[in-house]
Symmetry: C2
Subunit: 304 residues, 2 copies
Amino acid sequence: MPRPERVKLVEVGPRDGLQNESEFVPTAVKLELIRRLAAAGLQTIEVTSFVSPKWVPQMADAVEILAGLDLNGAVSYPVLVPNLKGLEGALAAGAREVALFAAASETFSQKNLNCSIATSLDRFGEVASAALAKGVRVRGYVSCALGCPFEGPIAPEIVAKVAEQLLQLGAYEISLGDTIGVGTPAATQSLIDRVAEKVPRERLAGHFHDTYGQALANILAVLERGIATFDSSVAGLGGCPYAPGATGNVASEDLLYMLDGLGIQTGVSLPELVAAGEFISQALGRPSNSRVATALGCRQKTTE
Amino acid sequence: MPRPERVKLVEVGPRDGLQNESEFVPTAVKLELIRRLAAAGLQTIEVTSFVSPKWVPQMADAVEILAGLDLNGAVSYPVLVPNLKGLEGALAAGAREVALFAAASETFSQKNLNCSIATSLDRFGEVASAALAKGVRVRGYVSCALGCPFEGPIAPEIVAKVAEQLLQLGAYEISLGDTIGVGTPAATQSLIDRVAEKVPRERLAGHFHDTYGQALANILAVLERGIATFDSSVAGLGGCPYAPGATGNVASEDLLYMLDGLGIQTGVSLPELVAAGEFISQALGRPSNSRVATALGCRQKTTE
């Protein structure tokens, strides 16, 4: 299968990347980051999460974040909602797209959502119906698609089934998440082939964590399987909660560098994306997890 | 082209990885690292360099290193030699394999070897003849194969020509080096296809730096082009001298993790390789550059 000519990048740094930051990131900093990401050319930016601030204090400013964005413009700003209450908050704040987060592992589902996979999908069905009734788009995630921190390997059949159910409840796109970054290219290709029996490839996205350094290799592998949408996080924001200190989401800069090299169109400017990553890294007071950003930064210092 | 069933890993950590360390690494530490790498199953370990200690003080103990190894056993311990004088030292110390280091960039050749590419190959011809006459094997490197820190992109034709000349002067294997790590998968595949017109694929090796995070993706891409030998460095030892602070050689652990996942045989044990990387990282007093080592280390701490 030839590689796609064009890829859609879904930037998840402001939500998935920042959600585990222990120190609260000021709303103005988050909004400036989102503004820079949009200016770099990103058309889909997951910006926050309507969850209880008791569980995720970093996302307590969800309403203010949406209030600071043009929600009816060309850029889509999905927000994560865990349940009907979260959806109500998101709708009240003007969200035009919501994301639902299911798991392919029973243990992970219990620990993360406090219910079985089946129960979570029942609840998500209600959330999706309510969202769609208001003309709000729904995106679905399947976490632990290549492995679970508690159960180990996950059967691709289960991932396919959960993805299919998210599709049936109205999600326009299903993002398959290698939550702990353990996947390698052959397993990832097999997963895609199996899921594609239930969900058309053009409705699938890849969400890879670089915990074991495999993210770009996995993305290359599934580009060759017709997948043309990928989630990534500027500056590689977001650690792995199951391996503190290890890397989280694949860095948007590293992914874009590879896609640019492959001649694949994204509409995103690498220099502007790198600048956005520098902005948030400086605001957080620590070096970027993006190797491209590090290399370009070091090269610049060397030639100054 | 199907991926190879078996891959040869050439460990370059003790030489390419350590050569730029500013503080001298004790000979006993280097020897213990090499011993652990061999015990992990690596069959080819580049261990040192017979260069003037004035230029590379870290390799001043080359004679002592070879004296501490079984040079006639199953494991091959190549050493880098820049010229006839270096070869004489290596032969006197009992080396059974030497490596020659040519460049595909005129500017890099001038700055690194102080002569043109053509002159360097003339000199290497003498070195190779002298080595082969003593029954010593010769391995060739072509640096800057995907880009030069001074000239930018390098034409694959030049790389192919230099590789062919190294083959003609008697090298059993030519390692193509992305010295500054700028290559991406499509460029890397094109390079291999062009070089393979002059040098059989089974005589080619890939030597990727992870400066821009592309190394594993590039390796995956050329596995699909029939390349089955790769250089790597335990713990990702070795910075990029042209981007200080940035990452150097691809980490052996990350590469092995990918190959294990692909079901490709290497004969190397990941846990033992990770332990060797922990040993040298502790000796150097800094964290590993291997994402696999970091993830496994963090996971272990979490479950302790």
